[in-house]
């Protein structure tokens, strides 16, 4: 296990170098010039020129990348070109929000997707299956922000059950946190829940045909033990992988949901920094999200190793 973690961490290093270099190279092509904005509304052309020089935008990207990397290796991710805030602070401020959002969306996906998928698999082609499949397909088909706005309109604006914007950290006020996070999590997690339900249905159907379930039944185990313990543990394998891939998708989709619910997460920052060429912030976000994804995949692998000891030994 420790070896696995160690190996993955080592493998993450070239990955991080690769993506950050890619970002660096990439930003060259993004049109626009942050210096124009940074220099201020009343700046002259010379001032813009000076600003550009000060920010180092004149250097070729490998030079800038090397400089950034040198700093980053010392733990300094630089400062936002626009707000002059340290990138690490911006990330520390916003990443927990986005993480909380994506994780609760994932949790929602699990809590809804697993029972739904199981019920569907146990009644193949009968009405519960059809209902679950119908809703699941719908869940995948609904544009996330549309769903988000509809939820917002119904539950927050008309029924007044939830606030329409903002975020309270969990440690400050758990109940208020829940009120803020619930609707966005549902909106964000709906497609994931649908995907989990569909995949679980499939792998459950597969599992239900496995010989070892027949063995379990032949032992006289109760039906709920056979399904809830034996079948689920086996069928969960693909779901863990699905959840890991969903995590990457959710991180991206969070942009839109955060916008719809005005949640101060990483999303808006990501979009505006890419558009405005705030390279240090983009780098920071990419580093963090890559790490998140590496960690997620690692967690998925560890879970899978537990779910399937055989794969671990190979």
């Amino acid at each position: 296990m420790a070896a696995l973690i160690g190996r993955r961490m080592l493998a993450a290093i070239p990955l991080l170098l690769f993506v950050t270099a890619l970002v660096s190279a990439f930003t060259v092509f993004i049109p626009g010039d942050p210096a124009v904005y940074v220099a201020g509304e009343n700046a002259t052309v010379e001032q813009i020129e000076q600003t550009r020089e000060r920010l180092g935008f004149d250097d070729p990207w490998p030079v800038r990348y090397a400089e950034w990397l040198g700093q980053a290796l010392q733990g300094n991710l630089g400062e936002s070109v626009f707000s002059a805030s340290p990138v690490s602070e911006l990330l520390a401020e916003r990443m927990p929000v986005t993480l909380a959002l994506t994780l609760s969306a994932l949790l929602f996906a699990v809590l809804v997707g697993i029972p739904a998928g199981t019920i569907a698999a146990l009644n193949p082609d009968r009405w519960p299956d059809k209902v679950v499949r119908g809703i699941a397909t719908l869940g995948i088909a609904l544009p996330g922000y549309w769903l988000g706005l509809l939820l917002l309109l119904v539950f927050a604006v008309y029924l007044g059950l939830f606030p329409t914007l903002g975020y309270t950290p969990l440690h400050q006020d758990p109940l208020d946190w829940l009120r803020h996070i619930l609707l966005p999590s549902v909106a964000l997690g709906a497609p994931a829940a649908a995907e989990v339900a569909r995949q679980l249905r499939r792998s459950m159907l597969d599992t239900l045909n496995q010989d070892f379930l027949r063995t379990a039944t032949a032992k006289g185990l109760r039906r709920h033990t056979v399904l809830g313990k034996h079948a689920l543990k086996h069928a969960a394998g693909p779901i863990v992988t699905v959840l890991a891939t969903q995590m990457a998708l959710l991180l991206g989709a969070a942009v839109i949901i955060e916008k719809a619910f005005t949640i101060p997460g990483i999303g808006e920052l990501a979009v505006s920094s890419v558009i405005n060429k705030d390279v240090p912030v983009v780098q920071g976000i990419v580093v963090v999200s890559t790490v998140v994804i590496v960690v997620t995949n690692l967690a998925a692998d560890i879970t899978n190793a537990w779910l399937s000891p055989k794969s671990q030994s190979q």
């Binding site: 070896a3 190996r7 080592l10 493998a11």
Partner: protein, 333 residues
């Protein structure tokens, strides 16, 4: 076709994967199949039979050793130069379910070798395919069907038809009859015999079913943990096994006779090919193991009645071949 001192080791690869010890699947096997000769290869699951078979048709390159076909060493031939030799050297696989492409009709599968090696029109190919199906006991109407419409036995016959369509000199049959009913098995065995007699084909017949081997093979090689422990004419090996393992195989085949013999239950299980024990590979299960077996690899020694055996008993101990079974072997450990 001859194999000479073939070694195969599988070493797990991977950039970030932990290195593990190689699996030494085949360790120095020499074996030949002559014209119109059928050689049986028997041994326990995992002892390296299939690996050897795959080396013989050059699906695998051996780690060391030579494989020659029609006097030409083929173990290192590039695929392009190997291709002209392919028609003479064919193989039938164990699993009847995965050895036919599910997206192709049976007719296309059978005719695939013709498409590769001969310039024929579609009609000609079809005619040859039909002929081949007849030979293996199927009918023309089967040509346009898909594998999933066939039973295991039928598929195995289709696979055989595909291997035979180019009229090969040597066919490696890797457990070609293991997955089918006894009845079908007999049918296929009869067909193989016929092909050998009428067309002079040679067979390397891999099986763990001793009875089947006995029915088709003139010579038998017994493998254990990557090594050939005994070879010899079929009749001699079955009547007077010279290696304790061969003996164990024969006596443990189920049947009324075994029941009558009074419960000589074989012991233990074969060790892992990842780190085979030093000395004789069979030492962990051998009821007659001696001090020497643990340190020294027995060399092949000729046996009365033909063939060779790699066992210290042959040189040092009470010879097995041609003698009544010693008490120790009867009673188990």
């Amino acid at each position: 076709m001859t194999l000479d001192d073939v070694h195969v080791a599988f070493s797990p690869q991977g950039l970030f994967r932990r290195r593990t010890a190689p699996v030494r699947a085949v360790r120095g096997v020499s074996l030949g199949v002559g014209e119109a000769e059928s050689v049986g290869l028997v041994g326990e699951s995992g002892c390296g039979k299939s690996t050897l078979g795959r080396v013989a048709v050059r699906l695998l390159s051996p780690t060391s050793g030579t494989v020659s076909f029609q006097g030409q060493a083929i173990q290192a031939l590039p695929e392009r130069r190997m291709r002209p030799l392919r028609p003479g050297l064919q193989m039938v696989f164990q699993d009847p379910y995965s050895s036919l492409d599910p997206s192709m009709t049976v007719g296309d599968s059978v005719a695939e070798p013709l498409r590769v090696h001969e310039r024929l029109s579609g009609a000609e190919r079809r005619a040859r395919g039909r002929e081949m199906l007849h030979l293996v006991g199927l009918e023309e109407r089967h040509l346009d069907r898909y594998p999933h419409e066939f039973s295991g036995g039928q598929r195995q016959r289709v696979a055989l038809a595909r291997a035979l369509i180019l009229n090969p000199q040597v066919v490696v049959c890797d457990e070609a009859t293991s997955a089918v009913d006894v009845s079908t098995q007999n049918q296929i065995l009869a067909l193989l015999r016929e092909l050998r007699h009428d067309r002079g084909m040679g067979f390397l017949f891999i099986s763990h079913n001793l009875a089947a081997v006995r029915h088709v093979a003139q010579r038998v090689a017994v493998m254990y943990l990557g090594k050939v422990v005994e070879t010899g004419p079929t009749a001699r090996v079955f009547a007077a096994p010279a290696h304790p393992y061969t003996h164990m195989l024969l006596t443990s085949a189920p049947g009324a006779s075994r029941r009558g013999a009074g419960g000589a239950t074989p012991v233990g299980e074969p060790p892992s090919p990842v780190n085979p024990p030093a000395g004789c590979p069979f030492q962990t299960r051998c009821p007659m193991v001696m001090e020497r077996c643990r340190v020294e690899m027995p060399a092949p020694t000729p046996v009365d009645g033909g063939g060779e055996v790699a066992c210290h008993l042959q040189t040092d101990g009470p010879h097995l071949a041609g003698r009544p079974l010693p008490e120790t072997l009867r009673a188990g450990v």
